[in-house]
Amino acid sequence: MQRLDYFIRKAAFSILTALGVLIFNFLLFRIIPGDPVSMIVSPRMRPETRERIRHQYGLDKPIWFDSGAVRETGSLLAGFDSQFFLYFRNLAQGNLGESFRQHRPVAELMGNRLGPTVVLILVGELTGIILGIILGLLAAWKRKTAIDTVATTIGLAAWALPPFWFGILLLILARGKLPMGGFITPGAIYSNPFEQLQDMASHVILPATTLAVLLFGSYMLIVRNSSLEVMAEDYILTAKAKGLSSARILRDHVLKNASLPLVTIIAMDLGIALAGTIQIETIFSWPGLGRLMFDSIAQRDYPVLQGVFLLLAVGVIGANFLADLTYVALDPRVKA
């Protein structure tokens, strides 16, 4: 019953927060000074045309509740034909509006960009996690030696480097040897799938490295710290007395228990990973959601900006919820 209680509490929190984000999103773009449709409406248009466009985007309806319609039709339901409820109704249907610039549904634009972002985040996170685990275990096992000091210093220094600058640094260093950006070489024709894989790999290596460098520092330090705690436990002493090799102890006993806090940190750092991804995609011209966000800001394409923000925020909220569940599932000692 404790588990169920925990689950309900976590779910309620996540849903409420997501709802808060949705409402915040709705309000934000309606308090913009000036007319939101002024982006696509030229002052030279006839007033009728402007009104038609505003009607098309539903911006001529009352914001919260249409009391006028209730009075006219006598039905309470008609009152819900306001911008607020229209917003939620559209969301439920997956309608995120239409881009001001490209006149295509926002959801469609975002769908095209989702894949590359997922690839980048997966590769970057995995690399960062593996790097963090290896270095963290190493530093903990060789505590107080030069290896430990070097590893911890590198981890701390890596966090001080802004990812957008580090990415530029990599670009300068790799100029001529690796592609400067993009997902694949434009217009390339491959003779076999292996070549295609090679091409994609050469494109993803720099962005993923930048992301991994951003993340591995905190992963390494948390693995190191919790490894140190675990290594002080009696059962590790038993394992050593039994004559198990260091590698075996590290892998089977230390790592399993030390990786639990790592799950929490991975979830906590998702915001950092996302921030890094936005910058990395901008620098490496990676055709993902981060770059879409950057472009929409530059072009003042508010519907797209709104849509991407919504997706990212709700995504992170959901991921945190999953991480909370995973943590409780993995560690029976946690009193939920």
Partner: protein, 329 residues
């Protein structure tokens, strides 16, 4: 239980002499003083005024370092060194101002939450968790796009979105101080709540929030640099992030103009590292619990604590969300 959680004693160690004995802290202080002096004395140090319009020829565009321009010239022929020097001003101003907001709001929220307990605590911590969960950079981007670019907006946005760690740290400290003898006695003789908070608890909170605040400055500086790099900085001001934004957008990478690209980033890393060194040294001093555990090398654990920006200080063993685990610990 509270003994384990008693991080601070004012009587013990937060003196200038104790701080000077920490090598990392001194190094950080030296590094920071260097940058601050550059920012303060910028008009006298910089060879040119980067806000001035220059007449340039094509040979001036993205010109490599020379005797007249030690760090070369940018895409409009302006001196890069002067821009970097003046950029320190904006980065430091934004950093300190935003950190001030963080410290003030975090302290108020943390103290009220920790002292009041009960549902006030729960509601405040839930709000804090909600802000923590939403990804920060996208939120900042969205708000600045709507509110408009400008240094005031940037400071406000960074400040009001970054106070959550500080609030957690303060709350944790308040929870442990609240149970100590002198507070209990003050309550027993009927001292009012507000007075207890300000006169008795606050002095114990200040060292903790000070150490946390130093790390918040570096976080704020990095945030401003990121916002400026992504094009949402103040268009009328030069900051390190905006220098990199221009460099990147005007093709400095393809032209290999490293003198335009590397210095601003190095300056950012310099400031961040210096503040981290100072912050870590401070946390070492105020957290004797870490110094007594014989199984750990305190410097490495403090590095981790400082690194996680106080999240570890607020939750000694990582847990999903501190607010679930009840109060105290």
């Amino acid at each position: 239980m509270t003994a384990l959680l008693a991080p601070v004693s004012m009587e013990k160690g937060l003196t200038l002499r104790a701080f000077l004995r920490k090598g990392g802290g001194v190094l950080g202080l030296v590094m920071l003083s260097f940058i601050v002096s550059i920012a303060v004395f910028a008009p006298w140090i910089a060879p040119y005024d980067p806000y001035e319009i220059v007449e340039a020829t094509t040979s001036d565009v993205l010109a490599p370092p020379s005797a007249a321009h030690l760090l070369g010239q940018d895409d409009t022929g302006k001196d890069v060194l002067s821009s970097v020097i003046y950029g320190a001003r904006i980065s430091l101003i934004v950093g300190f101002s935003a950190a001030l907001i963080v410290v003030v709001v975090g302290t108020i929220v943390g103290m009220v939450s920790g002292y009041a307990g009960g549902w006030v605590d729960m509601v405040l911590m839930r709000i804090t968790d909600a802000i923590l969960v939403v990804p920060t950079l996208p939120l900042m981007l969205v708000i600045i796009t709507v509110a408009g670019r400008g240094i005031t907006n940037i400071i406000l946005v960074i400040g009001f979105l970054s106070w959550t760690y500080a609030a957690r740290v303060v709350r944790s400290q308040v929870l442990s101080v609240k149970e100590r003898q002198f507070v209990m006695r003050a309550r027993a003789i009927g001292v009012g709540h507000l007075r207890i908070m300000t006169v008795h608890i606050l002095p114990q909170v200040i060292p903790v929030i000070f150490a946390e605040g130093i790390l918040d400055i570096s976080y704020a500086i990095l945030s401003e640099a990121t916002l400026s790099f992504l094009g949402l900085g103040d268009p009328t001001l030069i900051s390190w992030g905006s220098i990199l934004n221009r460099a990147f957008l005007r093709g400095a990478v393809t032209r290999g103009a490293w003198w335009f690209l590397i210095p601003p980033g190095l300056a950012l890393a310099w400031v961040t590292l210096s503040l981290n060194f100072i912050g870590n040294a401070l946390q070492e001093l105020i957290n004797p619990r870490l110094q007594t555990h014989h199984l750990f090398d305190e410097r490495k654990i403090v590095v981790m604590n400082g690194f996680l920006g106080g999240a570890a200080a607020a939750a000694p063993t990582p847990q999903p969300l501190a607010s679930d685990m009840g109060e105290g610990r």
